[in-house]
């Protein structure tokens, strides 16, 4: 994260990071607690949640930090620390109750309510996104699609009719859209972004390879395939340089690679 970064943020989030209050206002639990969760930890909480859901479906009722950390591919100490950010829901000597933990993580991640999603730009990607009717992890129903192409307007994609981007303000308000996904060509991205923001959308997932300019109160996350590919390319090149010592010996060592290496902008990577 995208890593990140993740990270690094990410590589991308809001440019200006409000450095929070120098003096912790006493202990207003609710707000401070939520604010205190590091971005990287939030990303991992989502991973834990997936692992927990899987365990739950398998009928597992209790899980230790060690087990869960393996499933999530992280260090167990890190996992415990991450969980401690949201409270103390474990039982020493036993572990965590899967059901309880799922509930708490969902609460923190704001998954107790649905977040309607609008996808702008119904090209290849937009099409693919619209067809994820279930959308990953449920709780994020796509309820609106936008484009500028007259041929697309009115045509339903994945069961949802495409509206013209001029209708963004009204549709966003009507359907209570909280998340906007930009899947347009780069040239249109900023324009679309501005329209979404004007319509009241405060969270944007941007697939276009542009750095969006947004007000401070808007949260942007960026997914950039070109960057991902180039990072991989970098590692290929780096590897090629190392050709001298210890060549391609390394057989399929399926063993546990205990190295918890790098991590970027929210996107985990395992060398």
């Amino acid at each position: 994260m995208v890593a990140e970064p993740g990270q690094g943020d990410e590589v991308v989030t809001t440019p200006a990071e409000p450095p929070a209050v120098p003096h912790p206002a006493d202990e207003p639990a609710v707000r401070e607690r939520a604010r205190a969760i590091p971005e990287a930890a939030v990303a991992r909480l989502a991973i834990y949640l997936r692992a927990l859901t899987e365990l739950s479906e398998q009928g597992v009722g209790t899980v230790s930090s060690e087990e869960l950390s393996i499933a999530a591919g992280v260090n167990s100490a890190k996992l415990r620390k991450d969980l401690s950010y949201i409270g103390s829901y474990g039982t020493r000597g036993v572990g965590y109750d899967v059901g309880v933990l799922i509930g708490q993580v969902e609460r923190i991640l704001g998954l107790t309510r649905n977040h309607s999603v609008a996808v702008v730009g119904i090209g290849n990607l937009g099409h693919a996104l619209a067809n994820y009717n279930g959308f990953p992890g449920r709780g994020f129903p796509v309820t609106a699609l936008f484009d500028v192409d007259p041929d697309l307007i009115g045509v339903p994609v994945g069961g949802i009719p495409v509206d013209h981007i001029d209708d963004i303000p009204q549709v966003v308000a009507d359907r209570d859209i909280t998340i906007g996904v930009i899947a347009t060509p780069p040239s249109a991205a900023q324009e679309v972004c501005d329209r979404l923001v004007s319509a009241g959308v405060q969270c944007i997932l941007n697939f276009a390879p542009v750095v969006l300019q947004v007000p401070d109160h808007v949260e942007v996350r960026k997914v950039d395939l070109a960057v991902e590919m180039q990072i991989l390319s970098f590692h290929v090149a780096r590897r090629a340089d190392e050709g001298s010592t210890e060549s391609t010996a390394a057989g399929p060592d399926g063993a546990v690679n205990g190295t918890g290496m790098s991590e970027v902008d929210g996107m985990v990577m395992r060398p």
Copy 2:
């Protein structure tokens, strides 16, 4: 960075398992320089490259760190430091020559050669990816598609015929695939990953929401739409808490028990 007096290869402090390089290797400045580039900086280099390319197309010949940093949405000091990792190609008092810098960044990112890409899983996302014939930023031609569905085998998508995943070893070797993209349902991801790795692919871009287990020499980057959405959701929730103290309280729509884990997530750009 480390002005190591003696080449102390020995473990210095913690007796645990140092994730350091197994073999001390030498310290050839040239190679070490590449290795010394922080992961986060690599991600940004890709962003800079895009901004530089844009400038170049506009006929701009020289750019200052200040200008470029604005275009890339980062701090100018950070940009200069990032660029310093790859060498000193700027001219004090003037700035950077756009053409030269593009060349150097491309060199570091290994973009002087083409990287053939294979996409596994021709569902919604795989389809979208395959149709990016140009693929983002070019230099990453998709030359192979794989799936298990007999109805898809042989059918060309985006000009490339789909092969059965049993053919991975041969096709990967024949077409010199260096990057594998996993766009399968989560249940198949690890299996596909193993096959790619066995076939010699060392870089994988994973769109499936699973933590892949791979040998140390394989580089994996993960793009997880569900995680991205949940992070955004978190920020919505945090924001809501800041205004009014609203506790859990079920949302308006109870949303029937969602379907089980949905599919993969997808993403790209330039639809």
